[in-house]
């Protein structure tokens, strides 16, 4: 069986405490993952200075070059994994085995990660708003004649990672290029991607001590977030709530992303059906940027019926089928409980599952795996308990609400795709603190431009600007 070790500043460590993650289909143990005890993590984190100092010796330009070299290695190379070689195809199959994600989706996510590494310079340019990156090497410089100085806000970035989709790993990679060592806690079912990214970067010349990976329990995750200067947490509502008051931690909770139609476009809703479907379904509905709501001033019934008809075509397919569009649940009990939760929500009058007559049962078995088939819920009111929900499969609520009530009625929303050319409505959306990412026009919520900030700007999270003056001549 494959064994994945802890990485302590780049050095593999085999724990006597092993977690065994099962294959989603056979339920047989598939991989052994060494678990780091929280005391070990704490002790390692007493010295974050060495790795930070070593990484600081590289110029940002050098680190960008390492990322560029790592990109094809990640996508196409054979890289070490726990002392054994891992080909790209093995990576795809292994990730699929423990998460259920179809191969075609894994490959799309690989492309996404490849893109971020290959285009790191452009990513950093976007995040730093075109700052001369050499300023991060010297600590100070000049921008348009003004003295500037930036300093790192922590000696490392601790990241508690999720299982849902490998694409999210694109979010932390730029920290390496920004000279910040990474302390990662991989998800229990998805250690594959962070290990492969780190292996590619090290193979491309990154100092191994810049990367620590600590598979661990919740206590271990807490140690990482408490003891690193800056942190990033992917988690559900309760996990993120616990860290809500800590400005050191950037939170990535549920997205509640939405497609919103304005008064001027609502009558043309059929033109935007493809955008809605892609927003809901792409990546199997497993991303925080997938739409879980379509909000419109009118035609809610028709939109919901049309979406239900389109989504009912989606059926489970084998993991290696290139047209697979949904993933099974690695833990069948989770699928059962989510489906029961939705049924419970529908008991409240004022909502119905429009997919049910077209689709049959929501929870189905295919080749021994549990799937939740796409579900379109039509809610009569924005106040209904099912109007603003998000689940780990293609699920959408269609809700009618007057444009005047938006965006307040939407609640906090990671991505809004606003289908409206109404300047006044656009201005309201632009001014709203409730909207994380904003797309004007028919851009699927799932389409991400990585030079844009995502739930906070990583550069601002890692660096702060200080006032600076110097009486000495420039070097």
């Amino acid at each position: 069986m494959i064994h994945i070790p802890v990485l302590r500043r780049g050095v593999p460590y085999r724990s006597v405490e092993i977690a065994r993650t099962v294959h989603h289909r056979t339920r047989e143990p598939f991989v052994e993952i060494s678990q780091a005890n929280s005391g070990l993590i704490r002790r390692d984190l007493l010295d974050q200075e060495t790795a930070a100092r070593n990484l600081a010796q590289f110029k940002v330009a050098d680190l960008i070059a390492i990322c560029r070299r790592a990109a094809p290695l990640f996508l196409e190379g054979t890289l070490p994994l726990g002392g054994q070689p891992q080909t790209p195809q093995q990576y795809v199959e292994q990730l699929s085995a423990t998460t259920g994600m179809p191969h075609v989706m894994v490959r799309r996510n690989m492309q996404k990660i490849h893109g971020v590494m290959a285009e790191m310079e452009s990513v950093l340019t976007g995040l730093t708003r075109n700052l001369d990156l050499g300023i991060l090497d010297t600590g100070h410089g000049s921008v348009e004649g003004h003295a500037v100085s930036y300093f790192p806000r922590g000696r490392s970035l601790g990241v508690v990672l999720p299982n849902n989709s490998p694409g999210v790993h694109s979010l932390w990679i730029p920290a390496f290029a920004l000279k910040t060592p990474l302390i990662l806690k991989p998800g229990s079912a998805e250690p594959w991607t962070p290990y492969r990214i780190v292996a590619a970067l090290v193979e491309a010349g990154a100092p191994p001590e810049a990367f620590s990976l600590y598979p661990a329990d919740h206590a271990g995750a807490g140690e990482i977030l408490r003891n690193t200067g800056r942190g990033m947490l992917f988690g559900d509502v309760s996990a993120t709530r616990a860290w809500g008051g800590d400005p050191r931690i950037e939170l990535h909770g549920p997205g509640y992303s939405k497609v919103v139609l304005g008064e001027d476009c609502a009558d043309d809703w059929e033109k935007f059906l493809d955008v809605m479907v892609e927003s809901i379904v792409a990546n199997g509905g497993r991303s925080c940027v997938n739409a879980s709501g379509v909000w419109t001033p009118r035609h809610g019934d028709a939109i919901a019926a049309a979406l239900a008809e389109r989504l009912a075509r989606i059926q489970p397919k084998p993991a290696d089928d290139e047209t697979a569009a949904i993933a099974p649940f690695a833990d069948p009990s989770v699928a059962r409980r989510i489906s029961a939760m939705i049924d419970g929500g529908l008991d409240e009058p004022g909502a119905s599952d429009l997919s049910a007559p077209l689709r049959g049962e929501r929870l189905v078995e295919f080749q021994g795996c549990s799937y939740l088939l796409p579900t379109v819920v039509r809610c009569a009111s924005p106040d209904h308990g099912m109007a603003n929900r998000e689940f780990l499969f293609p699920f959408v609520s269609v809700v009618e609400a007057p444009q005047a009530a938006m965006p307040e009625v939407l609640g906090p929303t990671l991505v809004v795709t606003a289908l409206s050319a109404d300047r006044a409505f656009q201005a309201k959306l632009l001014a709203s603190p409730l909207v994380g990412r904003l797309n004007f026009g028919p851009i699927p919520t799932i389409r991400i431009s990585w030079d844009q900030p995502h739930e906070g700007n990583l550069f601002d999270h890692l660096y702060a600007r200080r006032a600076f003056q110097s009486a000495y001549a420039a070097d």
Partner: protein, 364 residues
């Protein structure tokens, strides 16, 4: 080794220990159920039975007839119903377990903690816990038996015990309130006091503390350099990985004695930790004064096979306290007897696993 291939001398010793256990069981039951010496709780309980424990309990296995001891019986008063008449007039302690919410469980004690810790003392190596050396105990005091027990252990070995208190009920409250920063500060407050004592008293060579406090102490100081020769560690769950980490990275050669004990049982002894057996933590109860067994959670009268996992069941058999067939909130693997302890042990005790029923909502 399997139970079918035991060395003949071990088999004989197991048989002897079993005979001793059966005889001791009869003696303890006779004591607690005799109207002259008995415990008010058990004398009342006997009135509800249609059989006579003094006559019908002839061996340890017969204790199944009592069913499982209910922990609710230990919550609330009157606590004097647990004091055997045979000990009337003796000074009585009451020790508590748990209690972060609600009424804690109480157990009375007179000399048991001294007897248990003197027996445990005999298992400690003198080079690691030198006779005459002083001790530092950093951990729960208050209503817990641990404070008096560790202090007695030190005194029994000719030492004086310095104490730093930690209130675990407050720690649990801080965690429940999400006040993790405050919890860290409280821990640091405890560690600061411990460091002050360690630096001020050269003759402190032995340490008792909990796993978390041991980690925190070792973040600040090398115990070896400051003069500690042996660490007795307990109070909360320990994993094999923790024991390996402590041995390899925290202690720098200082002797490490992990223990499993609680107010209701007493103190178990551990088999030496070795890398060869994966730093498995194997404990043996202080038979015949207490027995730990591993039972099928669904049928608590069925003891699981060697190496199999089950729920930990505790039976305490002393003249101060009789507690038959108590189901702990722990699980473990059943471990074979061995030369030193020819009765069942338990491997890798940890909290009894409960199936998670929470649903993760949202995609992140």
């Amino acid at each position: 080794m399997s139970s079918t291939t035991l060395a003949p001398d071990l088999a004989a010793r197991m048989e002897a220990s079993r005979r001793e256990l059966d005889a001791w069981t009869r003696e303890v039951v006779e004591w607690h159920f005799n109207p002259d010496t008995g415990t008010p709780f058990w004398l009342e309980y006997a009135k509800t039975l249609d059989w006579d424990p003094r006559r019908e309990i002839q061996g340890y296995a017969d204790l199944d007839r009592f069913g499982n001891f209910q922990d609710e019986w230990l919550r609330g008063g009157p606590v004097r119903r647990w004091v055997p008449k045979g000990y009337a007039g003796r000074p009585v302690y009451t020790f508590e377990t748990g209690g972060s919410t609600g009424v804690p469980k109480s157990r009375i004690s007179i000399d048991d903690f001294r007897i248990d810790y003197e027996a445990f003392s005999a298992t400690l190596p003198d080079d690691a816990f030198p006779k005459g050396a002083d001790w530092l105990s950093v951990g729960p005091t208050g209503p817990r038996r641990l404070r008096l027990a560790v202090e007695h252990l030190a005194q029994h070995r000719g030492g004086i015990c310095f104490l730093v208190d930690l209130d675990p009920r407050w720690v649990i409250k801080l965690i429940k309130m999400g006040e993790l920063g405050m919890m860290e500060r409280y821990k640091q407050h405890v560690i600061d006091q411990a460091l002050t004592l360690l630096r001020a008293h050269d003759n402190i060579q032995c340490l008792f503390t909990t796993p978390k406090l041991l980690e925190a102490l070792c973040e600040k100081v090398s115990l070896k350099k400051i003069g500690i020769k042996g660490v007795f560690c307990g109070g909360t769950e320990m994993t094999p990985q923790f024991c390996r980490f402590a041995t390899e990275e925290l202690l720098d050669g200082v002797y490490f004695a992990p223990t499993y004990g609680n107010t209701l049982m007493g103190l178990a002894v551990h088999k030496p930790l070795t890398p060869e057996n994966g730093y498995a933590i194997v404990y043996y109860p202080p038979s015949p004064r207490a027995m730990i067994e591993v039972v099928d959670p669904e049928q608590p009268n069925r003891i699981v096979g060697y190496g199999e996992t089950g729920r930990v069941r505790l039976t305490t058999l002393t003249k101060e306290f009789f507690m038959p067939r108590f189901l702990e909130r722990d699980e473990a693997e059943r471990e074979e007897p061995y030369e030193k302890y020819p009765w069942d042990g338990v491997r890798n005790v940890r909290p009894f696993r409960k199936l998670s029923t929470s649903v993760v909502e949202g995609v992140y």
